[in-house]
Symmetry: C2
Subunit: 363 residues, 2 copies
C-alpha cells in the first residue's frame, strides 16, 4: 500500500475528510516534491500539490502522482476555493507545524464557506517513523558513509589541529563521497568543549589526553545518518577511562535489551539506569536517542516518559553521554533499526577509544 493510501486510512480514523500538509519532509515523503515551499491537500479521492510560480515545473517532475495547482499568495486566499471544489468540509491540519497566524487567517477564510479546521499532531510523522525497504537502503548507505567519515576523521586528528579544520575536512570527505548537504553541523569538540552536548567546532587546538567528541552524519537521497564516537590522543587519565566505560556500558546495555513493543521511555530507562547507578545520572541530561530519516531528528523520541511505541523497522539512535563542565564529556552513538523484534546496529565504527597512531587503548 503506498504512502498516500496509508494516510487516507488514517483520515477516516481522524474523522476529517482531508489533510493539509505543509511540513517540508512530510510533503516530500508523501509526494516526492523536494521544493522548499508548497502545500498538499489529500482527501480520499484527490491528492493536490499547491505551489507558487517558482515550483510549478519542478512539482510536475517530482510529484507525478499529484495534481499540481499553481497558487498565488497565502493559503487563506486559495484554500477555500480549492476545498469547495473538492467538496471537503472538515480539513485536518498539522497543528505542531502551522503557525498560529496562518491558522487564524485560514480559520476566518474557511468559516465563511462552512469549512472546519481540525488540529492533528504527528499524523505523517508516525507513518514516517516506520521505514520501508527503499528508505532503509538509503539510511544503511548513509550510515556506512558516516562510518567511513569517522575513520577519516580519526586519521587526520593530531595534536595542534583545530576543531574547525577537522570538521571542514570531514565535511569535504562526506560530500565528495556522495553525501548531499550534511544533515547537521559536524561536531568536533575537544577538552572542555566536549562537555557541551551540542558544541560547535571552534578554533580550539586539539590536545593530547583530553576527550574528543566526534558527531557527524551523511545524507543520501534525503535520508540521514548520525554517528558519535569519543576518542583521545595519548593515554588519557583515570577519569576518561572510568567515564568512557560507564557510557559504553549504558550504550551496550541499550543495544542488547531494547526490543519492539517497548515504549521509548522504557528504552531510555534501560541505559539511564546504568549511568544513574554509577552516580552520573545528573550528567546525562538529554534523551537516549531519536528517530532518524528525512529529518535528522524525528519520531520515535527516546527520552524519559516517552510513550512512543518501538516497532519493527523503526530507525533511531542510541546515544548516552556524560557531560562534566570544565572537564569534558563522552558520548557514544549508533544508528540502529528494529528488526525481528531486536535492535540491529547500522553503525559499524569501533567503540574503543583510540590513539592517533591507531594503537589501542583506554578501557
Amino acid at each position: 500500500m503506498n504512502r498516500v493510501e496509508r494516510l487516507r486510512k488514517i483520515l477516516v480514523e481522524l474523522g476529517v475528510d482531508a489533510l493539509l500538509i505543509v511540513h517540508p519532509e512530510n510533503r516530500r515523503y508523501l509526494s516526492g516534491f523536494r521544493g522548499s515551499a508548497g502545500w498538499l491537500l489529500i482527501s480520499p479521492k484527490s491528492a493536490l500539490l499547491a505551489v507558487d510560480f517558482r515550483y510549478v515545473e519542478q512539482a510536475r517532475m517530482e510529484a507525478p502522482g499529484f495534481e499540481i495547482v499553481h497558487i498565488k499568495g497565502e493559503p487563506a486566499a486559495w484554500l477555500p476555493g480549492l476545498a469547495t471544489d473538492f467538496g471537503v468540509s472538515n480539513i485536518g491540519f498539522e497543528s505542531d507545524h502551522l503557525p498560529f497566524a496562518t491558522y487564524q487567517k485560514l480559520h476566518t477564510a474557511l468559516k465563511k464557506h462552512g469549512i472546519k479546521l481540525t488540529p492533528t499532531e504527528n499524523v505523517v510523522e508516525s507513518l514516517r517513523a516506520i521505514k520501508d525497504r527503499e528508505e532503509i537502503e538509503n539510511i544503511v548507505t548513509a550510515a556506512a558513509l558516516a562510518d567511513a567519515a569517522f575513520q577519516y576523521a580519526r586519521s587526520i586528528i593530531r595534536p595542534g589541529i583545530t576543531e574547525k579544520h577537522v570538521a571542514w575536512e570531514v565535511e569535504k570527505f562526506l560530500r565528495s563521497q556522495g553525501s548531499e548537504t550534511i544533515p547537521f553541523d559536524i561536531i568536533i569538540a575537544s577538552g572542555p568543549n566536549s562537555a557541551l552536548p551540542h558544541a560547535r567546532a571552534s578554533q580550539r587546538c586539539i590536545q593530547e589526553n583530553e576527550p574528543i567528541v566526534i558527531d557527524l552524519g551523511a545524507r543520501i537521497n534525503g535520508y540521514c545518518s548520525d554517528l558519535t564516537r569519543t576518542i583521545i590522543l595519548g593515554n588519557g587519565d583515570g577519569t576518561f577511562s572510568r567515564i568512557y566505560d560507564i557510557v559504553l556500558g549504558a550504550q551496550l546495555t541499550a543495544l542488547a535489551t531494547i526490543t519492539s513493543g517497548m515504549t521509548a521511555g522504557d528504552a531510555d530507562n534501560l541505559a539511564r539506569t546504568v549511568i544513574e547507578k554509577a552516580g552520573y545520572g545528573e550528567k546525562f541530561g538529554h534523551g537516549l536517542g531519536h528517530g532518524v530519516g528525512l529529518n535528522p531528528h524525528e519520531l520515535p523520541r527516546l527520552s524519559p516518559g516517552s510513550s512512543d511505541m518501538l516497532q519493527e523497522n523503526m530507525v533511531f539512535t542510541i546515544e548516552p553521554g556524560i557531560y562534566m563542565p570544565d572537564w569534558g564529556g563522552v558520548r557514544i552513538e549508533d544508528i540502529v533499526i528494529i528488526q525481528k523484534g531486536k535492535v540491529r546496529p547500522l553503525s559499524r565504527s569501533d567503540k574503543i577509544a583510540n590513539t592517533a597512531s591507531g594503537g589501542l587503548l583506554i578501557r
Copy 2:
C-alpha cells in the same frame, strides 16, 4: 540604543508587558545566543534566555546580557511560573512562528494564572530589517566573497562539466575562503533547468549556447549575501541576447530609481513595468527581491502590493528574471543597501554575459 532597548520601546506601543521569542534568528539577533533551541522572555525590566540542558553552558558564553534559565520540557510547563515570578500578565508572542499546538497548550496553562497571550507579527523582524554598522560590515564582506565565488565559478565552467560538480567546487571555494555554512544551496542551472527560478544543481552537463544561471551566497558571522548572474558559453542566440537585455534593463532601472520612503511594492513595480512593457510580464513570476541579513530571506519583501516601507540602511536584493519553460531563463541579482536615500549596490560582479574564454559576450 541597544537591540533589547529598541524592542522594549515597542513593547509599550504593543500594549504587552513582555515578548516571548522563539524564532532562531530573532533570538540570536537580540541575545547573541546561537544554539538551535531556546526562548527569550523580554520585559521592561528583565531579559531571560531559557534553554534546556544541552545549551546552558553555551548560553552563558554567548548571551552575557541575559539571565540564563535552565528549563525542562515544553513552555507550558515552565512559562507560567517564570511569568508569575516576573509579574508579567500580558505576553506578546510571535504568531507567525509559534505553532498552533504550542499556542494552545500555552494559552491553557497561562490562563490558570490569569496571564494573557497576545499575537504579534514581525516585531523583531522589523528591527532586523534596518542594519547597524557591524551588520553592514558582515554583509559587505559576505557580498565580496560571493563576487569572488562567481568569478571562480566562471573560471571553471566549461562545456561537458555537470552543474553539480560546479556547485560543489564553488561551495568548497566559499567555505575555504571563510564562509560559514552557505545560506542556501548554490544554483547552477543550465539550459532548460534555468527556467526553474529555484532549480537544484543536477547531473546535467553544461553546454555551449544556452543560459547558465549562477545563484550563490556566502555567510559571515551569521550574515548572508546573495548574488545571481546569468552567463553563456559561446555566442548564444538572438533570444538570449534579447531576454538578457530586458532583464538587465529592468535591473538597472530598479537600481537607479528605487529610493527610501518608497513602498517595496512600488519598488517592485519599477522593474516589473520594464519587463511587462517588453511583453514578458507573465514570465517574471516572483518578487523583485527580499531583505537579507541573518536570514537569506527576510524583510523587506519587494513584491507586488508589498507595503513595507524602504528605509535608510535596509539591505535587500534586486533580482528580476524572465523564465521560459523549455528554453531557459535569465536572472540578474545584486545585493544592495539604501544609503543617503538611494540604492548602493554591494555586489560588484560584471553584468555582461561572458564567454568561458573571458572574451566577450552577448549583448
